[in-house]
């Protein structure tokens, strides 16, 4: 069987990927049976490659799925929680940049009237 490459997998559609996944998994089953019944060394060595191929297919499936979901939710107001920024718990609960920026009328007035002066400037 040809080597499974992620580059080739990314172009495929989901059904094709799932079908390939099925095929790989059945092959893995037969290889495991061969391992138990004392199969040839070639077969036993193949187990590793097939396992990694399965992992590759699953990675491509999940990556494209997540990417499409992110695209779908990009402009929306409410996103599912796993598509939001992870950051840290504290940062997520912190004030937003806008909330930090807003000033009361009183404070605005003060800043306008009494700005921070810079005295004794070096030339």
């Amino acid at each position: 069987m040809a080597k499974v490459k992620a580059k080739d997998l990314r172009g495929k559609k989901k059904e094709e990927l799932l079908k390939q996944l099925d095929e790989l998994k059945t092959e893995l089953q037969t290889l495991r049976v061969a391992k138990v019944t004392g199969g040839a060394a070639a077969k036993l060595a193949k187990i590793y490659t097939v396992r990694k191929s399965v992992a590759r297919v699953l990675t491509v499936i999940n990556q494209t799925q997540k990417e499409n979901l992110r695209k779908f939710y990009r402009k929306k107001a409410f996103k599912p929680k796993d598509l939001r920024h992870k950051k840290t718990r504290a940062l997520r609960r912190a004030l937003t940049p806008y909330e930090l920026k807003i000033k009361s009328k009183k404070e605005q007035r003060k800043q306008r009237l009494y700005p921070q002066r810079k005295l004794c400037q070096e030339f």
């Binding site: 998994k25 089953q29 138990v36 019944t37 939710y73 107001a77 599912p80 796993d82």
Partner: protein, 173 residues
């Protein structure tokens, strides 16, 4: 004016003044009557009604919570973007068949196959998985957990299958 502090009916200040000047206006009796009625309603709202005629009849000593509107869930966004796939599918469930001497004996004599399965598998799941993987009918499944923490499943095939043939097909023999 309102001892209980209830908000008086808003549109009613006018009638009060009308009432004062009502007695001289004997000709517009109908209008006065309506205004009086409105005044009375206002008074009732403000003072509260204590009449005994329309009191609710309570047939039980207990006060039961009245049933209120319960709306079904209608989330604005799904909490998880995508549900988890089933990691314990048929391929992960059945690990490999056993090929020990006693397992071989079971294949020949009792028409059963012996598999090592995932510890989280249960009998109906094993039955389904074997059916799907090898396209055979299963009569029953017996399971046990080995001392090395692996689950062993004795899968008895239906009588129209031959254990030896199936084992050949799988590759056990």
């Amino acid at each position: 004016m309102a001892p209980k502090g209830k908000k008086p009916v808003p549109s009613k200040p006018a009638p009060k003044e009308v009432k004062k000047s009502a007695p001289p206006k004997a000709s517009s009796g109908g209008v006065v009557k309506a205004k009086e009625k409105a005044l009375k309603a206002k008074k009732n709202v403000v003072r509260g009604r204590h009449d005994k005629k329309n009191r609710k009849v309570r047939t039980s000593v207990h006060f039961r919570r009245p049933k209120t509107l319960k709306l079904p869930r209608n989330p604005k966004y799904p909490r998880k973007s995508v549900n988890r796939t089933n990691k314990l599918d048929q391929y992960a469930l059945i690990k490999y068949p056993l090929t020990t001497e006693s397992a071989m004996k079971k294949i020949e004599d009792n028409n059963t196959l012996v598999f090592i399965v995932d510890k989280r598998a249960n009998k109906p799941m094993i039955k389904q998985a074997v059916k799907k993987l090898y396209n055979i009918d299963v009569a029953k499944v017996n399971t046990l957990i080995r001392p090395d923490c692996e689950k062993k499943a004795y899968v008895r095939l239906a009588s129209d299958h031959d254990g030896l043939d199936v084992a050949n097909k799988i590759g056990i023999i």
